[in-house]
């Protein structure tokens, strides 16, 4: 049974993939809320930089961003006299989080804008400050609306982690490539690989819809 021989190495890689997905999704969510709330703001000094960052990360390819952070950033660091050589894990997490965060920012902004105007008028009538309105009126109502899109983005992020194998981080895709080079048994290795990613995606999808139900639970109360 060749696939049993491959399993330990692949599981080792899967662990790295899970860790990477976890870190970059959590960091990506922070980026998404930061940029999304910034985009929602009416203050130009906050809105414009956030819009530019979102455009840059949504408008270029993830692999370009990953290579830029891993290969080009150290060169830029040398020019200004800083050591910006990042570990593959750090570079990978950063690129994935910024990329998925930029997509998430649009989701956050869209959901915040979809909060009915009457709610904001009521908050104003009750003399809520801008910050109070955001935290107590807008976000609690917008959050459940964001969850389905966040679920899709989390899956997207899991799939995107495979790219970090190209900066020699030992994730699932990287281990599989090593095994294939060694055994030339492409069919078994890649079939297992596809099934493992599919399985992880199904689990992640279930977890995200569970989270979505928790976040929206207050509406049924």
């Amino acid at each position: 049974m060749p696939f049993l021989d491959y399993l330990p190495a692949l599981l080792q890689g899967a662990r790295v993939t899970v860790e990477l997905t976890l870190y970059s999704t959590v960091l990506g969510a922070l980026v998404a809320f930061g940029l999304g709330i910034g985009r929602h703001s009416r203050r130009a000094w906050l809105n414009v930089p956030c819009a530019v960052i979102v455009e840059i990360f949504r408008g270029t390819s993830l692999l370009v961003q990953l290579f830029w952070i891993y290969f080009a950033l150290p060169v830029l660091g040398e020019l200004v006299g800083l050591n910006l050589r990042l570990e593959p894990m750090v570079a990978g997490t950063l690129a994935l989080a910024l990329n998925i965060g930029a997509y998430g920012a649009e989701v956050v902004r869209g959901a915040l804008q979809a909060v009915p105007t009457e709610q904001l008028e009521a908050a104003k009538a009750l003399d809520f400050s801008g910050r109070q309105t955001l935290w107590r009126i807008s976000l609690p109502q917008a959050l459940p609306e964001m969850m389905p899109s966040f679920g899709n983005l989390a899956i997207q992020n899991l799939k995107d982690t495979a790219l970090v194998s190209l900066i020699s981080l030992g994730d699932l895709a990287f281990r599989a490539e090593q095994i294939r080079n060694f055994t030339q048994d492409s069919t078994t290795v890649y079939t297992m690989l596809l099934l493992m990613y599919f399985g992880m995606a199904l689990v992640l999808s279930a977890l995200m819809s569970l989270l979505g139900r928790r976040v929206g639970a207050w509406r049924n109360a």
Partner: protein
């Protein structure tokens, strides 16, 4: 040297100027791959959408599983699968075509949903009106459903064209020399990754901004009530 074109590393500026034509050669490959991948995705998506909507579960169910599988597994792995596994079964495609096929397969799962959503968005009243006018099912689909659905489907497909464009750099791992691959080769040989990779980023931004505004224009130009197919 690449594609018989030399670069000049005297200053940062002359380096950037000298590699621009080389990067543009790579961009041409990127655009070709994106175009072929998109056509494949649009066609395969149509097939998949058709199979998923068949009334017999024995056909619709596997189609749904395949669609879900294509959507939930990484493009990179699908690409490796096609590139390394197909030749074992006697199917040898050039790297470029393998890459375009991988793009088409992955995005067919997305485009199939675009077709479904476009058709499902037609109000029920339209079907009832068609029925009241005694139109056949096929006739209803051809002259009532399709013209209205197309106006919704085209801009949504356009967005996936942009996504496909951004995924083309993955093809460089199976030795397709597209724009990012070109920049990486230049970086490997000159040890200056900063300029070529930043230029690729800039060129990508240019491509996606142009594509996005073209789609917005198309979206505004398409009549909301649909496009008569006559």
């Amino acid at each position: 040297m690449l594609f018989d074109m030399h670069w000049n590393t005297d200053t940062h500026w002359s380096f950037a100027v000298s590699i621009l034509p080389i990067l543009l050669r790579g961009m041409w490959v990127t655009l070709q791959a994106a175009a072929i991948g998109f056509v494949l995705a649009a066609l395969l998506g149509l097939v998949l959408a058709g199979l998923k909507s068949v009334r017999y579960r024995i056909i619709a169910w596997p189609a749904r599983v395949i669609s879900e599988f294509l959507r939930d597994t990484p493009l990179l792995i699908q690409l490796f699968f096609l590139y390394y596994v197909l030749p074992d079964y006697g199917i040898v495609l050039p790297a470029f075509m393998t890459g375009a096929l991988a793009l088409g397969l992955q995005y067919s799962a997305y485009t199939s949903e675009v077709y479904r959503a476009g058709i499902e968005a037609i109000p029920k009243g339209q079907y009832e009106a068609a029925r009241a006018l005694d139109l056949s099912n096929l006739h209803t689909f051809r002259v009532i459903v399709l013209p209205q659905a197309i106006a919704r489907i085209i801009p949504a497909l356009g967005n996936y064209l942009v996504s496909i464009m951004k995924d083309v750099p993955l093809l460089s791992v199976v030795s397709v020399v597209e724009m990012l691959g070109v920049a990486k080769i230049i970086g490997d040989r000159t040890f200056n990754y900063l300029i070529p990779l930043s230029m690729v980023g800039g060129l990508y931004l240019l491509m996606t901004l142009i594509a996005a505004s073209a789609i917005r224009l198309l979206d505004r130009k398409l009549p909301a009530q649909g496009i008569p197919l006559k």
